[in-house]
Protein backbone atom coordinates (compact mmCIF):
# COMPACT_ATOMS: atom_id res chain seq x y z
CA UNK A 1 0.00 0.00 0.00
CA UNK A 2 2.73 2.40 0.93
CA UNK A 3 4.49 1.79 -2.34
CA UNK A 4 1.46 2.78 -4.40
CA UNK A 5 0.95 5.82 -2.19
CA UNK A 6 4.59 6.66 -2.63
CA UNK A 7 4.48 6.29 -6.38
CA UNK A 8 1.32 8.35 -6.46
CA UNK A 9 3.12 11.07 -4.59
CA UNK A 10 6.13 10.75 -6.86
CA UNK A 11 3.88 10.97 -9.89
CA UNK A 12 2.27 14.08 -8.61
CA UNK A 13 5.67 15.60 -7.93
CA UNK A 14 6.74 14.81 -11.46
CA UNK A 15 3.63 16.45 -12.85
CA UNK A 16 4.10 19.68 -10.90
CA UNK A 17 6.62 21.32 -13.27
CA UNK A 18 4.11 20.97 -16.07
CA UNK A 19 1.26 22.87 -14.44
CA UNK A 20 2.34 26.51 -14.78
CA UNK A 21 2.81 26.22 -18.55
CA UNK A 22 -0.27 24.06 -19.02
CA UNK A 23 -2.61 26.26 -16.99
CA UNK A 24 -1.28 29.42 -18.59
CA UNK A 25 -1.79 27.97 -22.07
CA UNK A 26 -5.29 26.71 -21.32
CA UNK A 27 -6.40 30.07 -19.96
CA UNK A 28 -4.84 32.24 -22.64
CA UNK A 29 -5.60 30.13 -25.67
CA UNK A 30 -8.87 28.36 -24.92
CA UNK A 31 -10.84 31.17 -23.31
CA UNK A 32 -10.55 33.59 -26.26
CA UNK A 33 -11.89 30.92 -28.59
CA UNK A 34 -14.81 30.12 -26.29
CA UNK A 35 -15.59 33.84 -26.13
CA UNK A 36 -15.47 34.03 -29.92
CA UNK A 37 -17.86 31.10 -30.08
CA UNK A 38 -20.20 32.86 -27.66
CA UNK A 39 -20.10 36.22 -29.45
CA UNK A 40 -20.77 34.54 -32.79
CA UNK A 41 -24.32 33.82 -31.58
CA UNK A 42 -25.10 37.46 -30.83
CA UNK A 43 -26.04 40.33 -33.02
CA UNK A 44 -23.60 42.92 -31.75
CA UNK A 45 -22.39 46.14 -33.35
CA UNK A 46 -20.75 48.59 -30.98
CA UNK A 47 -22.07 51.51 -33.03
CA UNK A 48 -25.61 50.35 -32.20
CA UNK A 49 -25.34 48.95 -28.67
CA UNK A 50 -29.12 49.06 -28.12
CA UNK A 51 -29.68 46.50 -30.84
CA UNK A 52 -27.54 43.83 -29.22
CA UNK A 53 -29.46 40.56 -28.98
CA UNK A 54 -29.12 36.81 -29.09
CA UNK A 55 -29.33 35.82 -32.73
CA UNK A 56 -28.77 32.06 -32.97
CA UNK A 57 -26.98 31.39 -36.26
CA UNK A 58 -27.99 34.56 -38.10
CA UNK A 59 -24.39 35.78 -38.20
CA UNK A 60 -23.31 32.63 -39.98
CA UNK A 61 -26.01 33.19 -42.61
CA UNK A 62 -24.92 36.80 -43.02
CA UNK A 63 -21.29 35.78 -43.40
CA UNK A 64 -22.15 33.06 -45.91
CA UNK A 65 -24.18 35.52 -47.99
CA UNK A 66 -21.64 38.36 -47.79
CA UNK A 67 -20.12 39.14 -51.20
CA UNK A 68 -16.87 40.49 -49.76
CA UNK A 69 -16.44 37.43 -47.57
CA UNK A 70 -17.01 35.17 -50.56
CA UNK A 71 -14.39 37.08 -52.51
CA UNK A 72 -12.10 36.76 -49.51
CA UNK A 73 -12.55 32.98 -49.36
CA UNK A 74 -11.90 32.65 -53.09
CA UNK A 75 -8.82 34.85 -52.91
CA UNK A 76 -7.51 33.07 -49.81
CA UNK A 77 -7.76 29.72 -51.56
CA UNK A 78 -6.10 31.02 -54.73
CA UNK A 79 -3.37 32.92 -52.95
CA UNK A 80 -2.53 30.13 -50.52
CA UNK A 81 -2.53 27.46 -53.22
CA UNK A 82 -0.34 29.55 -55.50
CA UNK A 83 2.11 30.59 -52.83
CA UNK A 84 2.41 27.09 -51.38
CA UNK A 85 2.81 25.49 -54.80
CA UNK A 86 5.50 27.81 -56.11
CA UNK A 87 7.42 28.14 -52.86
CA UNK A 88 7.48 24.35 -52.48
CA UNK A 89 8.67 23.92 -56.07
CA UNK A 90 11.43 26.53 -55.71
CA UNK A 91 12.22 25.20 -52.24
CA UNK A 92 12.64 21.68 -53.59
CA UNK A 93 14.86 22.92 -56.41
CA UNK A 94 17.05 24.97 -54.08
CA UNK A 95 17.24 22.14 -51.56
CA UNK A 96 18.43 19.70 -54.23
CA UNK A 97 21.01 22.21 -55.44
CA UNK A 98 22.23 23.00 -51.94
CA UNK A 99 22.40 19.36 -50.90
CA UNK A 100 25.45 18.89 -53.14
CA UNK A 101 28.89 19.91 -52.05
CA UNK A 102 30.35 22.90 -53.86
CA UNK A 103 32.42 25.97 -53.26
CA UNK A 104 30.77 28.51 -50.97
CA UNK A 105 27.74 26.35 -50.20
CA UNK A 106 27.51 27.56 -46.58
CA UNK A 107 27.57 31.19 -47.67
CA UNK A 108 24.95 30.63 -50.34
CA UNK A 109 22.71 28.88 -47.82
CA UNK A 110 22.86 31.91 -45.53
CA UNK A 111 22.00 34.25 -48.40
CA UNK A 112 19.08 32.08 -49.50
CA UNK A 113 17.46 31.88 -46.06
CA UNK A 114 17.68 35.64 -45.56
CA UNK A 115 14.38 36.51 -47.33
CA UNK A 116 12.57 34.42 -44.74
CA UNK A 117 14.15 36.46 -41.94
CA UNK A 118 13.12 39.88 -43.23
CA UNK A 119 10.25 41.24 -41.11
CA UNK A 120 7.17 40.47 -43.27
CA UNK A 121 5.89 44.04 -43.17
CA UNK A 122 9.31 45.29 -44.28
CA UNK A 123 9.43 42.70 -47.06
CA UNK A 124 5.98 43.77 -48.22
CA UNK A 125 7.01 47.44 -48.27
CA UNK A 126 10.24 46.72 -50.15
CA UNK A 127 8.33 44.85 -52.85
CA UNK A 128 5.50 47.35 -53.00
CA UNK A 129 7.65 50.43 -53.43
CA UNK A 130 11.19 49.60 -54.39
CA UNK A 131 10.42 46.70 -56.71
CA UNK A 132 6.87 47.13 -58.00
CA UNK A 133 6.54 50.93 -58.13
CA UNK A 134 5.29 51.66 -61.68
CA UNK A 135 7.64 54.61 -62.25
CA UNK A 136 10.68 54.05 -60.08
CA UNK A 137 10.50 50.36 -59.22
CA UNK A 138 13.34 48.13 -60.40
CA UNK A 139 11.12 45.68 -62.29
CA UNK A 140 9.96 48.30 -64.76
CA UNK A 141 13.34 50.02 -64.64
CA UNK A 142 15.37 46.96 -65.60
CA UNK A 143 12.66 45.79 -68.03
CA UNK A 144 12.87 49.12 -69.85
CA UNK A 145 16.66 48.97 -70.00
CA UNK A 146 16.56 45.51 -71.52
CA UNK A 147 13.72 46.45 -73.86
CA UNK A 148 15.56 49.52 -75.14
CA UNK A 149 18.76 47.54 -75.55
CA UNK A 150 16.87 45.39 -78.03
CA UNK A 151 15.70 48.40 -80.00
CA UNK A 152 12.54 49.32 -78.14
CA UNK A 153 11.89 53.04 -77.87
CA UNK A 154 9.16 53.19 -75.26
CA UNK A 155 9.11 52.79 -71.49
CA UNK A 156 7.76 49.74 -69.67
CA UNK A 157 5.22 50.88 -67.10
CA UNK A 158 3.31 48.02 -65.54
CA UNK A 159 1.35 48.81 -62.40
CA UNK A 160 1.28 45.37 -60.81
CA UNK A 161 -0.41 46.51 -57.65
CA UNK A 162 -3.56 47.84 -59.27
CA UNK A 163 -3.61 45.64 -62.36
CA UNK A 164 -2.58 42.29 -60.86
CA UNK A 165 -3.07 42.76 -57.10
CA UNK A 166 -3.06 39.06 -56.22
CA UNK A 167 0.14 38.50 -58.17
CA UNK A 168 1.72 41.54 -56.51
CA UNK A 169 0.94 39.89 -53.15
CA UNK A 170 1.81 36.33 -54.16
CA UNK A 171 5.27 37.03 -55.60
CA UNK A 172 6.74 38.55 -52.41
CA UNK A 173 5.09 35.83 -50.34
CA UNK A 174 6.61 33.12 -52.54
CA UNK A 175 9.95 34.88 -52.17
CA UNK A 176 9.61 34.90 -48.41
CA UNK A 177 8.31 31.34 -47.98
CA UNK A 178 10.63 29.50 -50.38
CA UNK A 179 13.46 29.35 -47.80
CA UNK A 180 11.02 27.84 -45.28
CA UNK A 181 10.15 25.04 -47.68
CA UNK A 182 13.78 24.64 -48.67
CA UNK A 183 14.94 24.25 -45.07
CA UNK A 184 12.47 21.47 -44.31
CA UNK A 185 13.15 19.61 -47.56
CA UNK A 186 16.91 20.05 -47.16
CA UNK A 187 16.68 18.60 -43.66
CA UNK A 188 14.88 15.65 -45.21
CA UNK A 189 17.57 15.17 -47.85
CA UNK A 190 20.31 15.27 -45.28
CA UNK A 191 18.58 12.81 -42.98
CA UNK A 192 18.99 10.07 -45.60
CA UNK A 193 21.42 7.50 -44.24
CA UNK A 194 24.48 7.89 -46.53
CA UNK A 195 25.54 4.24 -46.23
CA UNK A 196 22.34 3.02 -47.88
CA UNK A 197 22.82 5.43 -50.77
CA UNK A 198 26.41 4.25 -51.12
CA UNK A 199 25.31 0.64 -51.06
CA UNK A 200 22.87 1.35 -53.86
CA UNK A 201 25.63 3.00 -55.88
CA UNK A 202 27.84 -0.03 -55.31
CA UNK A 203 25.08 -2.26 -56.56
CA UNK A 204 25.21 -0.34 -59.79
CA UNK A 205 22.16 1.89 -59.42
CA UNK A 206 22.41 5.08 -61.47
CA UNK A 207 22.02 8.37 -59.68
CA UNK A 208 18.69 8.88 -61.39
CA UNK A 209 17.49 5.49 -60.18
CA UNK A 210 18.66 6.27 -56.67
CA UNK A 211 16.86 9.58 -56.74
CA UNK A 212 13.61 8.15 -58.04
CA UNK A 213 13.36 5.01 -55.97
CA UNK A 214 15.06 6.08 -52.74
CA UNK A 215 15.36 9.82 -52.32
CA UNK A 216 11.91 10.80 -53.53
CA UNK A 217 9.97 8.33 -51.34
CA UNK A 218 12.08 9.39 -48.38
CA UNK A 219 11.44 13.04 -49.17
CA UNK A 220 7.72 12.60 -49.59
CA UNK A 221 6.79 13.06 -45.96
CA UNK A 222 9.05 16.09 -45.66
CA UNK A 223 7.45 17.70 -48.69
CA UNK A 224 4.02 16.90 -47.27
CA UNK A 225 4.99 18.46 -43.96
CA UNK A 226 6.30 21.63 -45.60
CA UNK A 227 3.11 21.91 -47.65
CA UNK A 228 0.79 21.43 -44.69
CA UNK A 229 2.69 23.67 -42.28
CA UNK A 230 3.16 26.28 -45.00
CA UNK A 231 -0.55 26.22 -45.76
CA UNK A 232 -1.46 26.75 -42.13
CA UNK A 233 0.96 29.63 -41.66
CA UNK A 234 0.27 31.28 -45.01
CA UNK A 235 -3.53 31.16 -44.88
CA UNK A 236 -3.44 32.91 -41.50
CA UNK A 237 -1.11 35.72 -42.42
CA UNK A 238 -2.42 39.06 -43.63
CA UNK A 239 0.72 41.19 -43.37
CA UNK A 240 1.25 41.32 -47.12
CA UNK A 241 -2.35 42.10 -48.04
CA UNK A 242 -2.56 44.73 -45.32
CA UNK A 243 0.61 46.41 -46.50
CA UNK A 244 0.53 46.03 -50.28
CA UNK A 245 -3.09 46.38 -51.43
CA UNK A 246 -5.35 46.80 -48.38
CA UNK A 247 -7.53 44.20 -50.07
CA UNK A 248 -8.14 46.36 -53.11
CA UNK A 249 -8.96 47.47 -55.64
CA UNK A 250 -12.50 46.83 -54.43
CA UNK A 251 -12.44 43.34 -52.95
CA UNK A 252 -10.08 42.01 -55.61
CA UNK A 253 -7.33 41.01 -53.24
CA UNK A 254 -9.03 40.71 -49.87
CA UNK A 255 -8.44 37.49 -47.90
CA UNK A 256 -10.23 35.85 -44.96
CA UNK A 257 -8.14 37.24 -42.07
CA UNK A 258 -8.14 40.70 -43.60
CA UNK A 259 -11.89 40.59 -44.16
CA UNK A 260 -12.43 39.61 -40.53
CA UNK A 261 -10.18 42.48 -39.51
CA UNK A 262 -12.30 44.88 -41.59
CA UNK A 263 -15.54 43.49 -40.17
CA UNK A 264 -14.16 44.08 -36.69
CA UNK A 265 -12.53 47.46 -36.89
CA UNK A 266 -14.25 49.13 -39.86
CA UNK A 267 -17.80 47.83 -39.65
CA UNK A 268 -17.72 47.05 -35.91
CA UNK A 269 -19.90 44.00 -36.56
CA UNK A 270 -18.49 41.96 -33.69
CA UNK A 271 -21.02 39.14 -34.04
CA UNK A 272 -20.32 38.66 -37.73
CA UNK A 273 -16.57 38.81 -37.24
CA UNK A 274 -16.82 36.19 -34.50
CA UNK A 275 -18.91 33.94 -36.76
CA UNK A 276 -16.31 34.24 -39.51
CA UNK A 277 -13.68 33.45 -36.88
CA UNK A 278 -15.51 30.28 -35.91
CA UNK A 279 -15.60 29.19 -39.56
CA UNK A 280 -11.86 29.78 -39.80
CA UNK A 281 -11.27 27.74 -36.64
CA UNK A 282 -13.20 24.81 -38.09
CA UNK A 283 -11.26 24.98 -41.36
CA UNK A 284 -7.98 25.19 -39.47
CA UNK A 285 -8.85 22.16 -37.34
CA UNK A 286 -9.41 20.14 -40.51
CA UNK A 287 -6.11 21.33 -42.00
CA UNK A 288 -4.09 20.82 -38.86
CA UNK A 289 -5.31 17.26 -38.40
CA UNK A 290 -3.17 16.49 -41.45
CA UNK A 291 -0.22 18.32 -39.93
CA UNK A 292 -0.74 16.41 -36.73
CA UNK A 293 -0.51 13.04 -38.36
CA UNK A 294 2.60 14.03 -40.32
CA UNK A 295 4.43 15.35 -37.27
CA UNK A 296 3.52 12.24 -35.27
CA UNK A 297 4.74 10.01 -38.12
CA UNK A 298 8.05 11.81 -38.42
CA UNK A 299 8.61 11.65 -34.68
CA UNK A 300 7.90 7.94 -34.64
CA UNK A 301 10.19 7.04 -37.53
CA UNK A 302 12.91 9.08 -35.88
CA UNK A 303 13.02 6.67 -32.89
Amino acid sequence: MTTTADSKLANRRRRLPLYPALIFTIILTQIPFLVTLGISLFHWNIMYPDETRFAWFENFQTVAADEAMRAAIKNSVMLTTGVVFFSTAFGLLLALLLDRKFRGRALLRILVITPFLITPVAAALIWKHIIFNPMYGIVNGFATQIYQKFGGDSVVVIDFISQRPLVAIAVPMIWQWTPFMMLIILAGLQSQPPDILEAAAVDGASSRQIFRSMTLPHLRQYIQLSIVLGTIYIIQSMDFVFTITQGGPGSDSTIIPYQIYLTLFRKYEFGEAAAAGVIVIILTIILSSFAFRLIRNLLETEK
Partner: protein, 282 residues
Protein backbone atom coordinates in the same frame (compact mmCIF):
# COMPACT_ATOMS: atom_id res chain seq x y z
CA UNK B 1 37.72 -0.42 -51.92
CA UNK B 2 35.21 -1.60 -54.46
CA UNK B 3 33.14 1.49 -53.70
CA UNK B 4 35.89 3.66 -55.06
CA UNK B 5 36.17 1.67 -58.25
CA UNK B 6 32.47 1.87 -58.99
CA UNK B 7 32.12 5.49 -58.03
CA UNK B 8 35.06 6.93 -59.85
CA UNK B 9 33.89 6.80 -63.47
CA UNK B 10 30.50 8.17 -62.51
CA UNK B 11 32.05 11.19 -60.89
CA UNK B 12 34.40 11.83 -63.78
CA UNK B 13 31.70 11.89 -66.42
CA UNK B 14 29.54 14.25 -64.43
CA UNK B 15 32.26 16.78 -63.66
CA UNK B 16 30.98 19.20 -66.26
CA UNK B 17 27.39 18.86 -65.16
CA UNK B 18 28.44 19.28 -61.55
CA UNK B 19 30.12 22.53 -62.40
CA UNK B 20 27.14 23.86 -64.27
CA UNK B 21 24.82 22.76 -61.46
CA UNK B 22 26.93 24.72 -58.99
CA UNK B 23 26.80 27.74 -61.25
CA UNK B 24 23.05 27.34 -61.51
CA UNK B 25 22.81 27.11 -57.71
CA UNK B 26 24.75 30.35 -57.36
CA UNK B 27 22.69 32.06 -60.04
CA UNK B 28 19.38 31.09 -58.45
CA UNK B 29 20.58 31.81 -54.93
CA UNK B 30 21.85 35.27 -55.83
CA UNK B 31 18.65 36.01 -57.72
CA UNK B 32 16.76 35.20 -54.53
CA UNK B 33 19.00 37.39 -52.47
CA UNK B 34 18.89 40.28 -54.93
CA UNK B 35 15.97 42.23 -53.36
CA UNK B 36 17.82 42.22 -50.04
CA UNK B 37 21.03 43.28 -51.76
CA UNK B 38 19.31 46.10 -53.62
CA UNK B 39 17.58 47.34 -50.46
CA UNK B 40 20.90 47.35 -48.66
CA UNK B 41 22.54 49.16 -51.57
CA UNK B 42 20.07 52.03 -51.81
CA UNK B 43 19.83 52.40 -48.04
CA UNK B 44 23.30 53.97 -48.28
CA UNK B 45 22.23 56.53 -50.91
CA UNK B 46 20.62 59.91 -50.97
CA UNK B 47 16.96 59.96 -51.96
CA UNK B 48 17.69 61.44 -55.40
CA UNK B 49 19.88 58.43 -56.23
CA UNK B 50 17.62 55.79 -54.68
CA UNK B 51 14.44 55.80 -56.73
CA UNK B 52 15.74 56.66 -60.18
CA UNK B 53 14.59 55.77 -63.62
CA UNK B 54 16.38 53.79 -64.88
CA UNK B 55 17.90 52.25 -61.73
CA UNK B 56 21.51 53.28 -61.01
CA UNK B 57 24.15 50.79 -59.97
CA UNK B 58 26.63 53.28 -58.60
CA UNK B 59 25.90 56.37 -56.51
CA UNK B 60 27.60 58.37 -53.73
CA UNK B 61 27.67 56.73 -50.31
CA UNK B 62 25.90 58.25 -47.32
CA UNK B 63 24.88 57.22 -43.82
CA UNK B 64 22.24 59.92 -43.45
CA UNK B 65 19.29 57.51 -43.82
CA UNK B 66 20.41 55.50 -40.85
CA UNK B 67 20.99 58.66 -38.84
CA UNK B 68 17.47 59.78 -39.73
CA UNK B 69 15.94 56.46 -38.68
CA UNK B 70 17.09 57.04 -35.15
CA UNK B 71 16.41 60.78 -35.19
CA UNK B 72 12.83 60.40 -36.38
CA UNK B 73 12.21 58.34 -33.29
CA UNK B 74 12.22 54.74 -34.35
CA UNK B 75 14.11 54.16 -31.12
CA UNK B 76 11.03 53.94 -28.91
CA UNK B 77 9.40 51.44 -31.29
CA UNK B 78 12.51 49.32 -31.46
CA UNK B 79 12.61 49.44 -27.68
CA UNK B 80 8.98 48.28 -27.49
CA UNK B 81 9.80 45.40 -29.82
CA UNK B 82 12.80 44.52 -27.71
CA UNK B 83 10.75 44.54 -24.49
CA UNK B 84 8.01 42.41 -26.01
CA UNK B 85 10.27 39.87 -27.67
CA UNK B 86 13.00 39.54 -25.06
CA UNK B 87 10.52 39.75 -22.16
CA UNK B 88 8.20 37.14 -23.59
CA UNK B 89 11.10 34.85 -24.45
CA UNK B 90 12.38 34.92 -20.86
CA UNK B 91 8.94 34.13 -19.44
CA UNK B 92 8.47 31.40 -22.03
CA UNK B 93 11.72 29.71 -21.05
CA UNK B 94 10.84 29.86 -17.35
CA UNK B 95 7.48 28.19 -18.02
CA UNK B 96 8.43 25.85 -20.85
CA UNK B 97 11.61 24.32 -19.48
CA UNK B 98 9.99 22.67 -16.42
CA UNK B 99 7.06 21.58 -18.58
CA UNK B 100 9.36 20.07 -21.19
CA UNK B 101 11.18 18.23 -18.39
CA UNK B 102 7.93 16.69 -17.16
CA UNK B 103 7.20 15.55 -20.70
CA UNK B 104 10.57 14.18 -21.71
CA UNK B 105 13.17 12.46 -19.59
CA UNK B 106 10.84 10.47 -17.39
CA UNK B 107 7.60 11.41 -19.10
CA UNK B 108 4.48 11.60 -16.95
CA UNK B 109 1.39 9.61 -17.83
CA UNK B 110 -0.60 11.06 -20.71
CA UNK B 111 2.38 13.14 -21.80
CA UNK B 112 1.45 12.41 -25.42
CA UNK B 113 -1.99 13.93 -24.94
CA UNK B 114 -0.52 16.99 -23.27
CA UNK B 115 1.95 17.40 -26.11
CA UNK B 116 -0.83 17.10 -28.68
CA UNK B 117 -2.78 19.74 -26.82
CA UNK B 118 0.17 22.12 -26.94
CA UNK B 119 0.64 21.43 -30.62
CA UNK B 120 -3.02 22.04 -31.38
CA UNK B 121 -2.95 25.49 -29.82
CA UNK B 122 -0.11 26.45 -32.15
CA UNK B 123 -2.42 25.83 -35.10
CA UNK B 124 -5.29 27.99 -33.85
CA UNK B 125 -5.81 31.02 -36.07
CA UNK B 126 -4.84 34.21 -34.20
CA UNK B 127 -7.42 36.20 -36.18
CA UNK B 128 -10.20 34.25 -34.44
CA UNK B 129 -8.84 35.23 -31.03
CA UNK B 130 -8.34 38.87 -31.90
CA UNK B 131 -11.78 40.13 -30.82
CA UNK B 132 -11.77 38.54 -27.35
CA UNK B 133 -8.20 39.69 -26.74
CA UNK B 134 -9.15 43.20 -27.80
CA UNK B 135 -12.24 43.21 -25.57
CA UNK B 136 -10.38 41.82 -22.56
CA UNK B 137 -7.58 44.37 -22.87
CA UNK B 138 -10.08 47.18 -23.36
CA UNK B 139 -12.02 46.10 -20.28
CA UNK B 140 -8.83 46.01 -18.21
CA UNK B 141 -7.71 49.33 -19.71
CA UNK B 142 -4.58 47.64 -21.00
CA UNK B 143 -4.83 48.61 -24.65
CA UNK B 144 -1.61 50.20 -25.88
CA UNK B 145 0.34 48.55 -23.08
CA UNK B 146 3.51 46.78 -24.13
CA UNK B 147 3.45 44.40 -21.15
CA UNK B 148 -0.07 43.25 -21.94
CA UNK B 149 1.07 42.51 -25.49
CA UNK B 150 4.03 40.62 -24.04
CA UNK B 151 1.71 38.33 -22.06
CA UNK B 152 -0.10 37.32 -25.24
CA UNK B 153 3.21 36.74 -27.01
CA UNK B 154 4.07 34.31 -24.23
CA UNK B 155 0.85 32.42 -24.93
CA UNK B 156 1.52 32.43 -28.68
CA UNK B 157 4.96 30.82 -28.53
CA UNK B 158 4.89 28.82 -25.30
CA UNK B 159 3.60 25.64 -27.02
CA UNK B 160 6.35 25.84 -29.61
CA UNK B 161 8.97 26.24 -26.90
CA UNK B 162 7.65 23.22 -24.98
CA UNK B 163 7.90 21.08 -28.11
CA UNK B 164 11.36 22.30 -28.98
CA UNK B 165 12.82 22.02 -25.51
CA UNK B 166 11.32 18.57 -25.17
CA UNK B 167 13.02 17.43 -28.36
CA UNK B 168 16.35 18.55 -26.89
CA UNK B 169 15.75 17.16 -23.39
CA UNK B 170 14.77 13.77 -24.80
CA UNK B 171 18.40 13.19 -25.74
CA UNK B 172 19.58 13.42 -22.13
CA UNK B 173 20.08 10.01 -20.48
CA UNK B 174 17.59 9.42 -17.67
CA UNK B 175 20.36 7.93 -15.50
CA UNK B 176 21.64 11.43 -14.97
CA UNK B 177 18.36 12.51 -13.41
CA UNK B 178 17.99 9.28 -11.46
CA UNK B 179 21.43 9.71 -9.93
CA UNK B 180 20.55 13.23 -8.82
CA UNK B 181 17.27 11.95 -7.38
CA UNK B 182 19.14 9.31 -5.37
CA UNK B 183 21.32 12.06 -3.95
CA UNK B 184 18.11 13.62 -2.69
CA UNK B 185 18.07 16.59 -5.04
CA UNK B 186 14.74 18.39 -5.31
CA UNK B 187 13.00 18.87 -8.66
CA UNK B 188 14.03 22.50 -8.74
CA UNK B 189 17.65 21.59 -8.09
CA UNK B 190 17.58 18.92 -10.78
CA UNK B 191 16.17 21.43 -13.22
CA UNK B 192 18.48 24.33 -12.58
CA UNK B 193 21.67 22.67 -11.40
CA UNK B 194 21.71 19.58 -13.61
CA UNK B 195 19.57 20.08 -16.68
CA UNK B 196 19.82 23.77 -17.54
CA UNK B 197 23.63 23.78 -17.84
CA UNK B 198 23.73 20.81 -20.22
CA UNK B 199 20.75 22.01 -22.29
CA UNK B 200 22.21 25.41 -23.10
CA UNK B 201 22.39 24.82 -26.89
CA UNK B 202 18.72 23.81 -26.94
CA UNK B 203 17.73 26.74 -24.76
CA UNK B 204 19.65 29.14 -27.00
CA UNK B 205 18.01 27.79 -30.15
CA UNK B 206 14.56 27.93 -28.59
CA UNK B 207 15.05 31.51 -27.45
CA UNK B 208 16.22 32.63 -30.87
CA UNK B 209 13.19 31.08 -32.54
CA UNK B 210 10.74 32.60 -30.04
CA UNK B 211 12.51 35.91 -30.53
CA UNK B 212 12.15 35.75 -34.32
CA UNK B 213 8.42 34.97 -34.21
CA UNK B 214 7.67 37.70 -31.67
CA UNK B 215 9.74 40.40 -33.27
CA UNK B 216 7.98 39.93 -36.60
CA UNK B 217 4.45 39.61 -35.18
CA UNK B 218 2.05 42.11 -36.73
CA UNK B 219 -1.62 41.15 -36.47
CA UNK B 220 -1.97 41.48 -32.72
CA UNK B 221 0.44 44.39 -32.42
CA UNK B 222 -1.36 46.60 -34.92
CA UNK B 223 -4.72 46.04 -33.26
CA UNK B 224 -3.96 46.34 -29.58
CA UNK B 225 -1.29 49.03 -29.56
CA UNK B 226 -1.55 52.73 -30.23
CA UNK B 227 1.28 55.21 -30.41
CA UNK B 228 2.73 54.35 -27.01
CA UNK B 229 3.28 50.61 -27.27
CA UNK B 230 3.59 50.26 -31.06
CA UNK B 231 6.25 47.74 -32.05
CA UNK B 232 8.71 48.09 -34.93
CA UNK B 233 6.49 46.45 -37.63
CA UNK B 234 3.58 48.71 -36.65
CA UNK B 235 5.86 51.73 -36.92
CA UNK B 236 7.01 50.56 -40.34
CA UNK B 237 3.50 50.43 -41.77
CA UNK B 238 2.78 53.95 -40.60
CA UNK B 239 6.14 55.25 -41.75
CA UNK B 240 5.39 55.12 -45.45
CA UNK B 241 2.44 57.44 -45.70
CA UNK B 242 4.43 60.36 -44.30
CA UNK B 243 6.70 61.55 -47.11
CA UNK B 244 7.06 61.77 -50.87
CA UNK B 245 10.49 60.49 -51.82
CA UNK B 246 11.35 57.80 -49.35
CA UNK B 247 12.99 54.81 -51.06
CA UNK B 248 16.35 55.27 -49.37
CA UNK B 249 14.79 55.95 -45.99
CA UNK B 250 12.38 53.05 -46.35
CA UNK B 251 15.31 50.77 -47.15
CA UNK B 252 17.26 51.90 -44.11
CA UNK B 253 14.26 51.47 -41.81
CA UNK B 254 13.50 48.03 -43.23
CA UNK B 255 17.07 46.93 -42.71
CA UNK B 256 17.19 48.28 -39.15
CA UNK B 257 13.89 46.62 -38.22
CA UNK B 258 14.83 43.29 -39.79
CA UNK B 259 18.44 43.18 -38.61
CA UNK B 260 17.86 41.64 -35.16
CA UNK B 261 15.91 38.79 -36.75
CA UNK B 262 18.43 38.32 -39.56
CA UNK B 263 21.22 38.01 -37.02
CA UNK B 264 19.18 35.69 -34.81
CA UNK B 265 18.27 33.57 -37.82
CA UNK B 266 21.81 33.30 -39.07
CA UNK B 267 22.97 32.36 -35.59
CA UNK B 268 20.26 29.72 -35.24
CA UNK B 269 20.28 28.48 -38.82
CA UNK B 270 20.92 24.85 -37.93
CA UNK B 271 18.09 24.85 -35.42
CA UNK B 272 15.79 27.04 -37.47
CA UNK B 273 14.28 24.10 -39.29
CA UNK B 274 13.44 22.16 -36.15
CA UNK B 275 11.83 25.29 -34.74
CA UNK B 276 9.76 25.90 -37.85
CA UNK B 277 8.59 22.32 -38.05
CA UNK B 278 7.72 22.23 -34.34
CA UNK B 279 10.50 19.80 -33.62
CA UNK B 280 9.35 17.26 -36.22
CA UNK B 281 12.45 17.71 -38.36
CA UNK B 282 15.94 17.80 -36.92
Amino acid sequence: MSTLKVNKPRQKTSLASRFSLSTFAWFLGLLFFFPVFWTLLISFRQEVDAGTFPPKWIAPFTLENYEKVFKVGAKSFLLNSAIASIGSTIVILALAFPAAYALSIKPIKKSKDVLSFFLSTKFLPPIAALLPIYLILKELQLLDNIFALTVFYVAMNLPLAVWLLRSFLKEIPRELVEAAELDGASTIKILYRVLVPISMPGIAATSLICFIFTWNEFLLAINVTGFGAATAPVYLVGFVTAEGLFFAQLSAVSIVVSLPVIIAGWAAQDKLVSGLSLGAVK
